[in-house]
Symmetry: C2
Subunit: 398 residues, 2 copies
């Protein structure tokens, strides 16, 4: 038997791993309500038609060969314009690298900066690949607390305590996956101050930036234009093309402090060919065309958020805060009838046929006793899902 | 200034790095004949129309969300059928994982198996990412000799000498990039015997398998169905969609010896979402539809190969073997007028305005004093390119 690498031992991605038992049930003819995956297309959202047309046109126009490793210039220009208009940023196209989704951006960034023994501050809970890939490099993901009672805002004091000489970078995810938190500028500024004092790279993952239900999303870089900040963003969520795999990284590097890291990032980019050529061309059209679908999507999601929030809080044994952005809700399991949140999720799957993701998959410390549900399905599906959960919990608890 | 990771220091990808000086010349209005990049679409080849239609249809049919991490079942079924028909293999869909090009397949494989200190036997010369990513993991790429005088066949005796306790896997690239070599079954079998004796994983990169000018391509796994062999393949070259980024890995695992490695590979796959959904759907159509474009492409390339072979051997100071597959030619620089093959390539770029890739970018040992040219351009472009090279060399040498 051949042995795999040691570092591969730790790789297990909660969001996708729970699919394995779900598929088994489905093979036995059982219908599962899937509340687990952050893919609007799996529910009643659809890619705007002009974006599909642009994909086809790109193929007809011959954009089927390799794209530049950094991405097509026209796409990077449109991203520069969006950043100017939305966030008042004055980027150059050379500050932008187009990637195969945000996942590839974070893979490339972590490969570009992490040495074994380094620490990466990640929100607790966080999008799991930040933990997985950090461990993969022999570095340590250190979760900082976020405060459920304050709508999952980062606990700045906890961040301060966890910074040490090994801390290489801090990740901000805003709006947050899995909690749906939207961070106020004051909190972001406090984190930025800590980063500046301690010489830590700030990475801001803003893939849900236009999916906000009340208030306004402040881009991290817009709050400190003179600071080295790397922003991750992508088209999967806001432009409804998760399967097309297009994201990007933006380097805000006013004083050249990121020169070497940026150089490493772009060298890694050149070692892996390119993001999808046709999908990149379609994203040029996505940024140039109508943005009306975003308004409609957010209005639809707000209603679903309101309903899910109300319904979950009616269930004995569950409670939840109200998400302000993204398309997730992160309820708390208020009972100790289950050994762990994973047991809860598997039990709900097996007996109520509803699939969630266990909170500890997002953070063993600050995610435990929680689960993540999407607020993407139509109201009647959300209703049916939580009716089933309620009935199931009644049976178990009473 | 923030420091990048130590391992990122070694990342430099010859094929894409030579583009930087070429772009500079182009910015000054100089027209470069590009003989450097393995992208048929950049010349007079085009994606078959029914494949473009299938991409569009996939978007219209709603395949815009995440695909399964392992790839759509229908695509994996078509790959199973192709392997049955072409190579007599009896794979199951669970043996196949669809990836974002072969590049991602090799990234995932090397991440799944390499520990620091391990050695990977790679052909000398090789496709550069095998070297880059191996070094990135703190492991060592060890090039084995291939014999130019014997049309770049692997030197089995050299492989034998280089196997030791640290050798984890051996890479076969057949047809070969950059040499265009096609390996006879006898040589492949000898390598397989060595691997079996020494408990080494065999990886066979066969992305150019249907681009063969004479003779026949033997899939490595088909020559030893009872052995653990991992095959990489993809659609970029044979189906003329390099920019769409779809490849795959196949695990031939008759005795379960690859169980743990396969498990690690698939866990890594699940940690990174998926390959492009719409492109995957289009590849189902590519495998089901007409294969006539392959015949036409190979006939066109054979003429260009014949011409390039003849023309290069007419030039004083250059010589070349005759490629039997893929779409590259790997001539030797017979003079020592240049300090290195990289100097030669940069000098040709600067003065003759033709862009090649230096041989040492593919292997510092067995690639030096060579350069790689594609045989993809129309005859008149190949002619003009080598006319320029000939004139330039006359000026320098005489």
């Amino acid at each position: 038997m051949f042995e795999p690498s040691e570092k591969s031992g730790g790789i297990a991605y909660a969001i996708r791993e729970v699919l394995v038992p779900a598929r088994k049930l489905e093979k036995n003819g059982i219908k599962i309500i899937k509340m687990n995956i952050g893919d609007p297309i799996a529910y009643d959202f659809d890619t705007p038609h002009h974006i599909k047309e642009a994909l086809y046109q790109a193929a007809l126009d011959g954009y089927n060969g390799y794209a530049p490793s950094e991405g097509y210039e026209e796409l990077r220009e449109e991203i520069v314009k969006r950043e100017k208009k939305r966030n008042g940023m004055g980027y150059d196209i050379d500050d932008i690298c187009v990637t195969t989704g945000v996942t590839e951006a974070l893979q490339m960034f972590l490969a570009a900066v992490l040495n074994a023994g380094d620490e990466l501050l990640v929100p607790g809970p966080t999008y799991p690949p930040y933990n997985l890939i950090t461990s993969f490099h022999g570095a340590k993901p250190v979760p900082y607390a976020t405060i459920e009672e304050e709508n999952w805002q980062p606990d700045v004091e906890d961040i301060r305590k966890k910074i040490n000489r090994r801390t290489k970078a801090i990740i901000i995810i805003n709006p947050n996956n899995p909690t749906g938190a939207l961070y106020p500028p004051k909190v972001i500024k406090e984190i930025l101050d800590l980063a500046a004092e301690n010489n830590i790279i700030v990475v801001s993952d803003e893939i849900y930036d236009d999916i906000v239900f009340e208030g306004r999303h402040y881009s991290t870089a817009s709050l400190a234009k003179d600071m080295p900040i790397i922003t991750f963003n992508g088209f999967s969520k806001v432009y409804l093309v998760p399967g097309w795999r297009v994201g990007y990284a933006i380097f805000n590097n006013p004083n050249g402090e990121l020169d070497k890291v940026k150089d490493a990032f772009f060298r890694i980019a050149r070692a892996r060919l390119c993001a999808s050529s046709v999908a990149q061309r379609a994203m040029i059209a996505a940024l140039r065309g109508s943005q009306q679908h975003i308004v409609e999507m957010v209005n639809k999601l707000r209603k679903r958020r309101d309903f899910a929030y109300k319904r979950i809080n009616e269930i004995n044994g569950l409670s939840t805060t109200k998400p302000q952005g993204a398309f997730y809700i992160f309820p708390k399991i208020e009972t100790n009838k289950w050994k762990s949140d994973k047991e809860f999720v598997l039990d709900v799957l097996e007996n109520a046929h509803v699939l969630f993701v266990h909170g500890s998959g997002f953070c063993p410390v600050y995610g435990k006793n929680h689960f993540r549900a999407v607020i993407l399905p139509p109201l009647e599906v959300i209703e049916e899902a939580f009716n089933r959960v309620e009935e199931f919990m009644k049976r178990v608890i009473e």
